[in-house]
C-alpha cells in the first residue's frame, strides 16, 4: 500500500469515525445481532432442555426445513442448529450493511463538503483513491462482522450451546464468514460508490445502497422456509459470483470515479 493510499485511508477513518451516526451503526448493529442470535438460539436451547422430546411428526417437519445438517441429531439439537445457521446468515448481512453506511458518508460527504476537487488536484490516481475508499469502508465492516460472529459463537458456548457453536464452525460457514463476507463488503462499498455518484444526500445513498442486502435477505427467507440450505457448494458458487460481481463493480466505479466524471457529471460535485 503506497503513501497516498495510506494517507487517504487514515483520513477516512479519522473523519468518518467522528461521525456519531456511522460509529453508532458500526457498534450497535453487530451488538443487536449478537443479542438476537444468542438470545434466540440460547433461549430456545434453554427452553427445550428438560422439555418433553419432539414428536416424530415435529422432528420430521424440522428435518425438512434444516436438511442434511441435522443428520444424526435429535430434534432439540436440530432445532438449535437450524436457528443457529439462520442467525449466522443474519451476520452475513453485516458486511453489506456496514460498508454502505460508511461509504455513503465517505463519498457523498466529499461531495457536500466540496473536498473532491482539491483532492483530485493532487497526484493521487483514481485507482488509489478508490482503493483507499473501499478499504476504509470494507476493513472495519469485515472486522466487525468477524468480531460479531466470534461474540455470537462465544455467547452460545457460554449458554451451554457449545455443540451448536462447534457445528456452526463447519468448513462451509468458515468459508462464508472468512471469504464470502469480505467479498460482500467490497461489493457493498463499490455499489455505494456508484450510487453516491448520483445522489447528494448520504441518507439517500445509504437507502439506495441498502438494496444490495436484498439478495442475501432472500437467501435468509429461502433457508427459513426450507427452500434450500446454505451448504459448502452454495457458498462456493456465491464466492465465484461475488468475485465476478466485484470485478464488474470495480470497473464501473473506476470509470465513475475518474476526475473528469466526478467534476463534470457527478450530481452536486
Amino acid at each position: 500500500m503506497n503513501r497516498r493510499v495510506r494517507a487517504v485511508l487514515r483520513k477516512e477513518w479519522e473523519e468518518v469515525f467522528k461521525n456519531g451516526l456511522v460509529l453508532f451503526t458500526m457498534v450497535f448493529t453487530p451488538l443487536l445481532f449478537v443479542v438476537m442470535g444468542v438470545g434466540t438460539v440460547g433461549g430456545t436451547g434453554m427452553a427445550t432442555r428438560g422439555a418433553p422430546p419432539m414428536s416424530q411428526a415435529e422432528a420430521a417437519e424440522l428435518r425438512k426445513l434444516a436438511g442434511e445438517q441435522c443428520a444424526g441429531l435429535d430434534g432439540a439439537a436440530c432445532l438449535d442448529l437450524y436457528l443457529g445457521t439462520l442467525m449466522l446468515l443474519l451476520f452475513m448481512m453485516l458486511p453489506l450493511i456496514l460498508p454502505t453506511v460508511f461509504a455513503a458518508y465517505s463519498v457523498v460527504g466529499e461531495k457536500t463538503g466540496r473536498t473532491l476537487e482539491p483532492l483530485l488536484a493532487t497526484p493521487i490516481r483514481t485507482t488509489e483513491l478508490l482503493l483507499a475508499k473501499v478499504l476504509a469502508a470494507a476493513v472495519p465492516a469485515v472486522v466487525v462482522t468477524w468480531g460479531g460472529v466470534a461474540c455470537y459463537l462465544g455467547g452460545l458456548a457460554l449458554l451451554g450451546e457449545g455443540g451448536t457453536a462447534r457445528a456452526l464452525l463447519s468448513p462451509a460457514w468458515l468459508a462464508a464468514v472468512g471469504v464470502l463476507a469480505p467479498l460482500l463488503a467490497v461489493g457493498g462499498v463499490l455499489a455505494a460508490v456508484i450510487v453516491s455518484s448520483r445522489v447528494n444526500d448520504p441518507r439517500t445513498a445509504q437507502q439506495l445502497s441498502g438494496v444490495v442486502v436484498m439478495p442475501l435477505a432472500m437467501v435468509l427467507v429461502g433457508q427459513s422456509m426450507g427452500l434450500f440450505i446454505v451448504d459448502a457448494a452454495m457458498v462456493g458458487v456465491a464466492v465465484v459470483v461475488m468475485v465476478v460481481l466485484d470485478l464488474a463493480l470495480a470497473w464501473v466505479s473506476v470509470a465513475l470515479f475518474d476526475r473528469e466524471n466526478v467534476l463534470t457529471r457527478w450530481k452536486g460535485a
Binding site: R3, R4, R6, A7, V8, R10, K11, E14, E15, K18, N19, G113, R114, T115, L116, E117, P118, L119, L120, A121, T122, P123, I124, R259, E260, L263, T264
Partner: protein, 303 residues
C-alpha cells in the same frame, strides 16, 4: 510557464472555452477576469489537469496537461472557489493529508511553516469546521502551497471574506508574487486584479483581450487630463482650440477635459493658453479610469 494553443472545451452542445491562446511568463501574475459562466473555472481545471480539453493543447511548467497530467499536478497549487476542507479534521491534519498526497519530504515542517506564516499555528489542533471564513481561506491557501508549487491557480481567493480578511489574503498573494511564483488569479474583484496583476485577461468563453491594466485603460479611453478652472468662459475654450494641438476637448461645468495620446507634452501649452486668456486654473489632474469601467466597457460591447 503556461502556454495554451487553441484550447477548447465543450460540454455537449455548450462551448465553455473557445480556442484560447494565452502565454503566462514565469513570475507573472495574470488576472483572469470574466462574468459568471464565462468558462474561467473550466479553464483552470484544464490547466490543472483535472479535465481534458476537447481540442487544442496546453503546457504548464513545461508539461502537457493531457499526456503528463501527473507532473502538472505536482507543479501547481490550486485554491478552489470554496475552500473544500475536512471540517471534522484539525487544521494540522487537513494539511498533513495533502502533504502526504503531494509527496512532501518534511510534511510536519512544511505544515508548521505555513500554519505559522498565515497565523494559524495556535489553532492547529482545532477542527477546520470551527474556523471563520477568513481562517478557512487561509488554511486552503496553506494547502495549496505545502508542496511549494511554482504555479498557483487562485479562484476567487477573497470572495465572501470581510474586508480585513480579504486584505490579509491579498497581502499574502502579493508576497507570493514577490517570491517569483507564477500566479493565475480568477477574480471578480477588479480593484484586486488591478493591484496584484501584471496583466489582465478579459474572458467570456473566448479571450477578448489580454494586456496590462494601464494599457487597457489607454486603449479604451485614451489618456486624459482634467483642468479645473474657477469659471469656464467661451474665450478659454477658444484659446485652447486656437493652439491647434492634437487633443480632444470636452467641457464639463467649469472643467475642461483633454484627451490626447501624450497629454504630458501638451498640458503645459494648454495651461499657458488658458492663463493668457484670463482663466484662473485651480487644478490639473490626470484622469485614472478604474479597471472596472474598462471591464464594463469591453464586456458591454460583447455578445
Amino acid at each position: 510557464m503556461i502556454e495554451t494553443r487553441r484550447l477548447t472545451r465543450r460540454f455537449g452542445e455548450l462551448l465553455a472555452v473557445d480556442r484560447l491562446d494565452l502565454d503566462v511568463a514565469r513570475g507573472e501574475c495574470l488576472g483572469f477576469l470574466g462574468p459568471n459562466g464565462a468558462g474561467k473555472t473550466t479553464t483552470v481545471r484544464m490547466l490543472c489537469a483535472l479535465i481534458a480539453p476537447s481540442e487544442g493543447s496546453a503546457r504548464v511548467a513545461g508539461h502537457d496537461v493531457v499526456r503528463e497530467a501527473d507532473q502538472v499536478r505536482r507543479k501547481v497549487g490550486i485554491l478552489t472557489e470554496t475552500p473544500g476542507l475536512y471540517d471534522r479534521l484539525s487544521a494540522r491534519r487537513n494539511l498533513e493529508l495533502f502533504g502526504e498526497l503531494y509527496g512532501v519530504d518534511d510534511v510536519a515542517g512544511q505544515v508548521r511553516r505555513y500554519l505559522a506564516l498565515l497565523g494559524l499555528w495556535e489553532r492547529r489542533d482545532d477542527p477546520a469546521g470551527t474556523f471563520s471564513k477568513g481562517m478557512r481561506q487561509k488554511l486552503a491557501i496553506c494547502r495549496a502551497l505545502l508542496h511549494e508549487p511554482p504555479i498557483l491557480f487562485l479562484d476567487e481567493p477573497t470572495s465572501a471574506l470581510d474586508p480585513e480578511a480579504a486584505r490579509l489574503v491579498r497581502d499574502f498573494v502579493g508576497e507570493l508574487k514577490s517570491q517569483g511564483r507564477t500566479i493565475f488569479l480568477c477574480t471578480h474583484n477588479l480593484e484586486e486584479a488591478d493591484q496584484l496583476c501584471d496583466r489582465v485577461a478579459l474572458f467570456r468563453n473566448r479571450l477578448l483581450v489580454v494586456d496590462t491594466a494601464a494599457s487597457l485603460r489607454h486603449q479604451t479611453y485614451g489618456r486624459q487630463v482634467e483642468v479645473r478652472l474657477r469659471e469656464l468662459r467661451p474665450e478659454h475654450d477658444a484659446a485652447v482650440r486656437a493652439l491647434g494641438l492634437p487633443v480632444e476637448l470636452a467641457a464639463v461645468g467649469a472643467t475642461l477635459r483633454l484627451r490626447a495620446d501624450d497629454p504630458d507634452a501638451i498640458t503645459p501649452a494648454v495651461v499657458r493658453a488658458l492663463v493668457l486668456a484670463g482663466a484662473e486654473v485651480q487644478a490639473v489632474t490626470p484622469i485614472e479610469h478604474s479597471l472596472e469601467r474598462v471591464y464594463l466597457e469591453i464586456m458591454g460591447g460583447q455578445p
